[in-house]
Symmetry: C2
Subunit: 196 residues, 2 copies
């Protein structure tokens, strides 16, 4: 009676999602096949569809999970009484923390969102635009108070967020970059870059 593998663990769906993020990250969304994903989990491709409804649904869940986390943190920061520079630091550190703790999810959501279908594609992009707009506002406030350099806020926002993503490559070398010092160095580079 006992089924040797594929126990009906309730978080089977979570396992699928985790493996999908890992494969999407290494091979890209399109280059990842449902057969590869199934093989990683020790089941047949057809069996995946008892837990999910489509390949795109996996991508959708990854992207919106990540987006929700970033939105929630930003909302929290906005409620705190911090200077623009302090808010910026808290946000950048959160981005770095996400990249370090959930690299697959964040990486996939940053790169493969293009393959979302409507209406989710539009929804995702709208959320991201609003997020970046809030960051630009924080920077503008810092400039107005003389705390930050008079840079065009959209240029600074994109530059900062893009630089933070360089963490993706920290694992690449023989002796991997990392540790508290590396994080602080990156933060220093960015905050000194915008500060007056």
């Amino acid at each position: 009676m006992a089924r040797p593998k594929a126990a009906a663990t309730p978080n089977r769906r979570l396992q699928i999602l985790t493996q999908a993020a890992s494969l999407f990250r290494s091979n890209g969304f399109n280059a990842t096949t449902m057969r590869q994903l199934a093989e990683q989990l020790g089941i047949e491709a057809a069996s995946l569809y008892n837990h999910i409804s489509s390949k795109e649904e996996l991508l959708r869940e990854i992207c919106f999970n990540v987006a929700n986390e970033f939105n929630t943190q930003l909302a929290t920061v906005q409620l705190q009484e911090l200077s623009p520079l302090q808010k910026l630091e808290a946000i950048l550190r959160f981005h770095i923390g996400m990249l370090l703790s959930r690299p697959d999810d964040v990486y996939v959501s940053n790169r493969d969102w293009k393959h979302l279908k409507e209406p989710w594609l539009t929804n995702f992009l709208t959320q991201r635009r609003q997020y970046e707009h809030q960051l630009a506002d924080i920077i503008q406030q810092g400039i107005d108070r003389g705390q930050l350099r008079p840079l065009q806020p959209p240029v600074a926002v994109l530059g900062l967020l893009s630089a933070v993503r360089s963490i993706e490559y920290w694992q690449r070398s023989k002796r991997p970059i990392g540790g508290t010092q590396a994080v602080d160095d990156l933060i220093t580079l960015l905050l000194k870059g915008v500060s007056n």
Copy 2:
């Protein structure tokens, strides 16, 4: 006798390459089909193979063309008598110039190199590692001379190069970012970030 379309222009291959870069950029390498590419050029998919030997060959040519340009410029800068900071500025400005003048090629070579086949994949990655190593050396020299902040050079290299790529998103908003001022703002952000 006159063929109405598809004149035997000698740079037909160049047209294919240009269109391929454009499609690869918008849709990704895997999601771009040879039928799409052919349609853009007004010919049948099979006809492409009179000018190229495979889809991957297109990617290969894009990636190595870009790599060659960056390597050549770096070699030139290294021969000039400039301070580390001046070298850095020249290099970053060249990156920005490439992103602005040939966005499709640079974008594709930055993202889709994963789909290169061996031995080109290894060759490409080796070239890139050597390029980044040279940048790290320049930064280390700047630190030794007290001109730059004591940041871990690999962290700074990846952060700077990644930030420069944010230019890819400058076209995205309603009133696109751009112009000399935007470039100078980005340069300021980065150079002030690393300078002592």
